[in-house]
Structures are given as C-alpha cells and as structure tokens.
C-alpha cells in the first residue's frame, strides 16, 4: 500500500468525516448538553441539572403525544400490512394492466405530504367533504373525521396508509418473488389449499419484509408532523398532537431549546427501543 494512496483514501472520505462531525456527532453531544440547560437562544444559557427530565416525566402533553402515536400505530400498521400484502399477493399473479395498477397505487408515495394533507383535509370535510357526501348518499351518518377527538387520529392514520401503502406493496412484491415456486408446486401435489400455502409457505418467507414494513411504519408514526400541523394543529383536544409537533412547539413557539432538546433525546431513545423490541420479538417468533 503506497503512502499516496492512503492519503487519497482519507481525502475521499474527508467530506463525509467533516459532515458527520458537524451535523451528526456534534449535535448528538450538544443535545445531551442542552438537556441539562435552559436556553431561549438569546439570553445566556442556564444550567438546570435534571429539571428538564423531571419536567418531562410529568408532562401531560408529552405523554399524550406518545399515546396519540400508539393510537396511530395501532391502526396504521395492521391496515398498512393487510392492504399492502393483500394487493401484493394479487399483483403477484398473472394480471392484466399490472403496471397500471402498481403505478396507480404508487402515485401518493411520490407526492409531497403537504399535497396529500391539503387534499384529504377537504375530503374529510364535515359539511361538504366527499367522504361524508358518500356516506350520506348511502344513508349513513356524517362523521366528524377531523373534528371529533376520537376520530381525528384514526383519520390521519387512514390517510397515512393511503399515502404510503404503494411503497409497501412494492416491498412485499419483492419479498413474494423470493418465494421458491417449487415449494408451491410440491405442496399443491400434497393437496395443500391456497390458504394453507399462504400461511405455511408465503408468510414465513416474507417475514423479513414484514419486519421491515413494521419498523418503517413505526418510525413514520413517530415522525408525524406535517399532517397534524396542517390539518388540525394538534387538536381537537390535543388528540392529534404528535411528538414531533410537540417538540416543534416547545422549540419554535416557546423557544424552550433545552426542553425541546430533552424531548428529542428521550423520543429518539424510545424509538430505538421500540424498533429494537420489534426486531427481537418478531425474529424470535419465527418458526
């Protein structure tokens, strides 16, 4: 190994090193430092010990935002997985216009969340929204999709499913294509039904995809921001206050930088923990 080549190696990675030092390593350390301080950016920083953490443990809004995330995930993940897997299984067969269907399902994925949110805000409208109009034409009651506290978060979860499901269809399709055809043929000879094949052959093989979809959806759920920001502002009665929206409010409405950093830090730890649990639990369940 020549010396000049070693130098060139370091030169090649130097932008990355500089970037990660400034925008990842330093911020991680600084956020820990900030969590022991109170600071509104303008006046001098004040050391407050653990009081940010004490405040966080009793913070009704933060707990509420976590509960809201749970509500979101409780609806979003099962909905997402069942629709995505169902459509992927259908698309994996000999189907005409397959490219068209796949393309249609994927359309919301590429569009900005802002577009989807503005659009669905109208569809969810109480008096004039298309969805309530449809319900009424079927003789059903109107629903306060975004105005009823018990419906608002589920409504956002449904919208998020609509936005993302196309991506997960593609991921499941990739997974399904890795199922060996010979397995189906062999089991069919032994008289296995379609359902039995699905449960005992397809599902185990696409288990890694399932974990991936679950983890990506979970991270997405903890990252909700633009949806409540545009649609509800976190309301009604804080029922759609997401964790990121709450951090944003603490940081950029009240300029509680120390507390906002503490929230971000704790939230990040919670996300890492949840993802870790999902990964180990599901992987151990594998037959």
């Amino acid at each position: 190994m020549s010396k000049s080549k070693t130098i060139s190696s370091y030169l090649l990675v130097s932008p990355y090193l500089a970037h990660i030092l400034v925008f990842v390593l330093f911020p991680v350390g600084f956020s820990l430092f900030l969590s022991f301080h109170e600071w509104n950016i303008i006046s001098p920083m004040e050391y407050v010990g653990l009081s940010n953490y004490e405040m966080l443990l009793q913070d009704q809004y933060f707990l509420k935002s976590l509960r809201n995330t749970l509500v979101f995930l409780g609806i979003h993940i099962p909905l997402q997985i069942s629709i995505a897997l169902g459509l992927a299984v259908i698309l994996n067969q000999q189907i005409w216009f397959r490219a068209f269907f796949r393309g249609a399902f994927f359309m919301p994925v590429v569009v900005s969340g802002v577009v989807v949110t503005i659009l669905w805000q109208q569809l969810y409208g109480y008096e004039m929204g298309s969805i309530n109009m449809l319900l009424m034409s079927m003789g059903l009651e109107k629903v306060g999709w975004l105005t009823d506290p018990s419906w608002a978060m589920p409504s956002i979860a449904i919208m998020a499913t609509w936005k993302n499901v196309g991506l997960y269809i593609i991921l499941f399709l990739v997974g399904l294509q890795s199922v060996p055809k010979s397995l189906y043929e062999a089991s069919a000879l032994e008289g296995a039904t379609g359902w039995q094949q699905f449960w005992h052959i397809t599902l185990p093989v696409i288990n890694p995809t399932m974990i991936m979809v679950m983890i990506l959806s979970t991270i997405g759920g903890f990252s909700l921001f633009i949806e409540p920001y545009v649609m509800t502002g976190g309301g009604p009665l804080n029922s759609t206050l997401s964790s990121v929206l709450y951090i944003y409010k603490q940081g950029f409405f009240y300029y509680h930088m120390g507390y906002a950093a503490t929230l971000g830090l704790v939230l990040a730890l919670i996300i890492l923990l949840v993802v870790f649990i999902q990964r180990t639990v599901i992987e151990n369940k594998q037959p």
């Binding site: 990675v13 911020p27 956020s31 189907i95 503005i118 593609i170 983890i215």
Partner: protein, 269 residues
C-alpha cells in the same frame, strides 16, 4: 371467477388512489361555490384560483428555489457520497471498518435527536434565512454512501487497475471510469435525494422565515395553514396541484426508475 374478484378489488383500490388527485385538479379549476358538486370534471370552469394564487404568494419564485436547492443537494450527494462509498469499498486504510460500522450506526439515529441542535448550529453559523441552511446539511447522506459502496464492491478490479496504470488519480478513476458504469445507482440515489429534498417541509419551516427564500412545499404549507388562503378551498387546492405537478410529471415519465429507487430505499432497514 376468482380472477374477476381480483380485478374488481384492484379497480376499486385504483379508483381510491387516483380519484382524490383527479378531484383535486378538477376542483381547483371550478368556481368556489360549486367545488363540492364536482365529480370528475369541473362544473364551472375557471382559472380564477390560479390567477389569485399567483397574485398573493410568490409561488413561481418558490418553485425556482425548490429546483435550485434540490438540484444542488442531489449533485452534492452524488459527488460526495460516491467518493466515500468508493473509498469504503475499494481502498484499504486504517479505520475503514470502524468508519463503516459508524456509518451503519448513524443511519439508525432518529432525526428527532439532532433536530434542535442542528437548528442551533444554523443560528450560530448565521445560516438561518439562507440557502446554506437548506443545502449544506443535506450534501451527504449515509444511505447513499451505503448504496454506492455496495455497487462499487461489484466492479471488477481490472477496470480500476487499468485506470491506475494509465496514471489516473483516484478522483478521475471515480468520476471518469466508475461513474459511467454506475448509471443505475446514480439514478437511484439521484431520484431518492431529489424527491426527499423536494418534499421536505419540517426543516425549511424551521430555518427559513423569509418568504422569498422559501421552498415550494414550505410556502404552500404556510399558505394553507395561515390566514392568507382566507379559507378559500379553491386556492388551497390550486397550490397543492401546482406543488404536486412537477413530481407527478417526473413520475409519469420515469415511473419504473421511481419505483425501483424507492424499493431500494426501503431496504435500508
């Protein structure tokens, strides 16, 4: 019989995925009072909402800002991430494995962790209200490096050796020998980066307050949330339509690439 059921189900879902977009476009072209009657075609065609929109917010400027920011970020990511990816894949140097594991580790860090400190960094650098805040933090990303590394691992050593014998330096090898044989990876990284940058809202909202510097999604968001749309559904939908158009057009042209790229981006977990 089963097939028929499948087609019915697929068509139903396809309708549910496409109808809202069609409704959005047609409602944005209808008079305010008739928007709710709209089915698929505008009931009373008008360009009013678009005209008023252009008069009330600098949306064409925001469009250019978004193009500028997303293009520079994409270019930066392609150059810098391929450099790091190349070194990690084909060079032997002290600390390489450490750097690689570190890369994998940073990928798992949630953005919530660094949001506030990065904002403070922007304030300290004096970058708030400037394109620097939108561009420089995005110039590199771990996932792109990983994709490049993976791709460069598969390139035959002969190709690199031949270039070295010809006296090429490492940068020339990367950009003149490896890039031309890496077009699919370049496209994948390019599409993902351009799309995420184009669609990002949270970061711009935090670091940009001056209207003439805003990106398009930011401007449209603040317009929809703030009082200036005056509750006019038509104008909101017009702004959303304009925001969606460039990406949808790009998607319709490069559909296959979009789907492949996004499928690759899902693999990162």
């Amino acid at each position: 019989m089963k097939k028929l059921l499948f087609y019915l189900l697929l068509s139903l879902f396809a309708f549910a995925f496409l109808y809202p977009f069609l409704w959005m476009v047609s409602a944005s072209l209808s008079e305010e009072r008739s928007i709710t009657h709209v089915t698929l075609w505008p009931v009373s065609f008008t360009l009013d909402h678009y005209i008023k929109l252009f008069q009330s917010i600098p949306i064409s400027g925001a469009f250019l800002n978004s193009i500028f920011v997303a293009t520079l970020v994409t270019f930066g990511v392609l150059v810098f991430s391929s450099m790091a990816g190349y070194a990690l894949a084909r060079h032997r140097f002290k600390g390489r494995n450490l750097l690689f594991y570190f890369l994998l580790f940073t990928m798992t860090l949630p953005f919530q962790l660094t949001l506030i400190p990065n904002y403070i960094l922007m304030v300290q650098f004096g970058w708030t209200n400037s394109f620097a805040a939108l561009i420089i933090p995005g110039l590199l990303n771990a996932f792109a490096i990983l994709l490049f590394r993976q791709h460069f691992l598969s390139i035959p050593q002969d190709l690199i050796d031949a270039a070295r014998i010809d006296g090429c330096n490492e940068l020339r090898i990367l950009f003149q020998v490896l890039w031309p044989v890496s077009v699919p990876t370049l496209i994948t990284v390019g599409i993902i980066t351009f799309m995420t940058t184009w669609n990002d809202v949270l970061w711009p909202i935090i670091v940009i307050r001056e209207e003439k510097l805003m990106t398009m999604p930011q401007l449209v968001t603040l317009f929809a949330v703030g009082g200036r749309s005056m509750g006019q559904i038509g104008m909101k939908l017009a702004s959303a339509t304009l925001l969606a158009m460039p990406i949808i057009i790009a998607y319709l042209i490069f559909q296959k690439h979009f789907i492949q790229s996004m499928a690759a981006s899902g693999q990162k977990e």
